[in-house]
Each structure stands twice: as C-alpha cells, then as structure tokens.
Amino acid sequence: MKVLVTVKRVIDYNVKVRVKSDNSDVDLNNVKMAMNPFCEIAVEEAVRLKEAGIATEVVAVSLGSKVCQEQLRTALALGADRAILVESDEILESLTVAKLLQKVVDDEKPGLVIMGKQAIDTDNNQTGQMLGALTGFPQGAFASDVKVDGDKVQVIREVDGGLQTVSLTLPAIVTSDLRLNEPRYASLPNIMKAKKKPLDIKTPADLGVEVKSHTRLVKVSPPAERKAGIKVASVEALVDKLKNEAKVI
C-alpha cells in the first residue's frame, strides 16, 4: 500500500509572530520557517507504517513556492521515499489545496493519506476533511492511534470529552493529533541521502486546477492585550478578593 503524506511550510513554532504595522498581515520577513508540527507527526506515522511492512512506499507532497522543497527534503530525510512539490507563488486557500491534492491522489492512488490536523499559521483545521469530501474517502480526523487491518483502518480519534474509535474502508484519510506519536529527528547520513531522492515539481496548471480566492483578507490586528493585575500576599487575601472585589465565588 502506498501512503501519501502532506507537508506544510510554516513559521517555526518557537517564533513569536508580529503583526505588520500596516495591518496587512503578519510579518514573515527573515523569520525561521519549518515543517508544521502536525505534519511532522503525519510523516512519522507514514514512516512507521513503512517500517512495520504495511506501507510499501511513502510519498511526501507539499504545495507552495519553491522554498517548500526544504520541508520536502526534511520529509525525505525522515524516511519518505520520494516527494512532489505543487509549485505556486499564489496564496493557496485550503479548498484549492484540497483540489490540487485530489489530483495528486488521482495520479498516485494511495491507500492512505496522512495529513496534519491543522497548520499552526492559519489554524484552519480543514484541508484533510475537504480532501475527504472531494475524493469521497472516509476520514479519521484528530487521530491518536492508527491500525491498518486488511482493507480497513481503525482510527482512535481525540474528541471533546474523550476518545472515539471508527473503522474506515480504505482508501482513507487520517489527520494527526498531537499524541499520535513522537516524531524522530533526521540523522546526518539520512539528510545527505535525502538530497539524492527524487523530488518532482508540478504546477496547478499541470494538474488542471484553477487557483481561486474564496476569501479576502481585510486586515490582521494584534490581539487585545490583557493587563497584569495584582499580587496578593496570602490565600486569605486571595479568597477575600475573589469574594468581595471580583465577586466570582
């Protein structure tokens, strides 16, 4: 079974973002970029499926400008066999990304597509589910455990209040939640080997998909600041403040 895994280039999660002074967007100039943490978990899961003898090939896909090749090379260093970049300098909204991925799925015919549940830049949490709708594949979103069994995959999902287990008929889509696994680090020899692995480049035109905007970003603002309050000296003082000043207990 072939496994397709998607990879998004985003701001490094350790970097504090700042809004541009003209409120047009956040400032990404000279900011460290990295693979989206949820995508790292997705890649790890795909590689583990290959190591377990369930996946025969792991194909990593990214969409965006040329620099996304860096994140695809990281995926290759982590154990993906080959990579595909759908190259475009335009803003790719989730729906467009899902349409492009649908075409890649049509070409590659994977048994399983593993994606991050959301990207830490736009926090949309939607591309995997959209791809599910477009392909007609079932989905196991927010997965904390994935077991392939014959023509089915059993997925434990993190839901409000606990866990839910679903059984999906393959081909299917899984989106990773935090506790699915702990991603490995790429070793230096594997980083070197990754440079020689195949990386194909396609364009939205090659795939026959029109890049369309369904939304307009009006502005980006910093969040309302919360002011620091006061320090209280003792538990007695705290209880007094909560009862008589804040009146919340």
Binding site: L95, N125, Q129, A133, P138, R179, V220, P222, K231, L242
Partner: protein, 309 residues
Amino acid sequence: MAILVIAEHDNSELKPATLNTVAAAAQMGGDLHVLVAGAGCQSVADAAAKIQGVSQVLLAEDACYEHQLAENISLLINELGKDYTHIVAAATTSAKNFMPRVAALLDVAQISEIIRVESADTFDRPIYAGNAIATVQSLDSIKVITVRTTGFDAAAAEGGSATVRAVSMLHNAATSAFVGAEIAKSDRPELTSAQVIISGGRGMGNGENFALIEKVADKLGAAVGASRAAVDAGFVPNDMQVGQTGKIVAPDLYIAVGISGAIQHLAGMKDSKVIVAINKDEEAPIFQVADYGLVADLFEAVPQLEQQL
C-alpha cells in the same frame, strides 16, 4: 434567505455550545433554522425549538447519523444547505470533523473559529495560536462557518416556539463505521461550558497530586483542566488540556495552579473574565495575564484554599 445552525448534541441533550452558535448566527442577519441530525433525538429538537430567535427546527433522524459520522452528516447538510446563505456550527471536535467536508461539497471556503461577526460576510478569527486576529471577508454565496463559542454570549434557551419539521433525507456513505467511544464520566461540569475552571500544570509533579485541585473544584463546582505540559508529562488525559492544541475556554473564573503560562496555554484561556495564578516562580509569564497572582508553593496554598472556601 435563512441561516442554518447545526445543533451540537448527544441524541438526548442539546449542548450549550449550540446557544452560543445561535447567538453568533443571529448577528449575521436572517431567519434562523436549526438542524438536529441524529438518532432518537426528538428531545433535542424540542429543546432547540425553545431557543430564543429560532424559527424552524429541522429534524433528521436515522441510525446513520447517530454518531455524527462526517461522511454521512456532510452529505445531509450539503443537500439541505443549498437553500441557505450561512451554515453555522460550533467549533467542537464534532463539527470541526464534518463542516469542512460540507464546504468542499458546496465548493466554498470554510471560515474557521470566528470570534466576532463584523457583517453578514466579514468575520474576525484568531490565527497563529491567537497571536493575531484576521478579519476575513467571504466571497462565496454560501458561507460555511464554525464559531468559537467563547466569543459569543449564549442565546436564551427558553422563550422561542419554533416549528419542528422532520426531513427524510438518507445519506449513508457506508465508508465509515462507529466502533466505540470512551467518554470520561464525571460529575463535574464540562470544561467548555464551566463557569469556574481550576487547572494544573507541570508544577503538580504527578497525576496523583491533581487530587488537591479536584477537592477545590468540588467546593467551587468547577471543571478541572490541565496545561499541555501536564498532559505531555502523562499526569492527566488529553481531553483535560486547555490551550491552543486543546480546549479553548472563557469561564468567569480561571485558576491556574503550577502553570508557567506558555503562549499555547494562554491562547486557550486568556479570554476568561477573572484569572488567578498560583505559582512559586514569581517570574512565571502567567502572572502577566493574571488578575490575582499568589506567589506560593502550591502544595501549601491549594489545601489552604480548599479549607477557606
């Protein structure tokens, strides 16, 4: 034209998140309809009909909708949704699962987790873990929206008298099946609807020590939460996690115990009305957002707090 709100429920009870979602939808302008899709959920439809401002409740009952499987529910909403200007649901794990499928089937964008309605087509939503707020205008004729419930006060649960109309549309994709659920049973309120929350962080040291804050929670009728650090350390299960990668909460009172205040935790609770921090490190960032800070050893302060309540 009308707005379709998708009810959040467990087939027996309407969840409070639906009330906040109705309040958000009311700001978009238009007749408000509520869809209750499930199995054996007439009582939910009856409750939805009483929500202030709702004019019609659509009730779709079938075994294939019982567990809110995204594959089936999305096909149902896709068929119903074509007659609406907006399709709105609470940003719970259930709706986050099926709503993007609805959007893709309708060939429109989804605007995720809005916190404000600027106009019928323009909405504010947090991006970058709440470190920036994007104002986004939808260019689609049907707007598919999920609502961060903490951004909206609840609509009144009583006072409405909507009609309930049964819809008999069957959409069973038959590609997925519910196997089981492990829902934590607790007498305490749910995190996302609690008025008071007390959360523990890495400073708790281990899972057993959470008993200290559970005692305080019992006195306050509070829900118990945790930081991601406490979850990652294995002290407590993930469904207790408050933060960008867990639950987003905004209670009247939030008590953070042994939590340093990482950005990802603050993103999940900084809209709480009153924040209390108890931490022995006076430099901890949590004090920068706390209304009342107590620099103290939590193992002394928390039992004292319990006694004095």
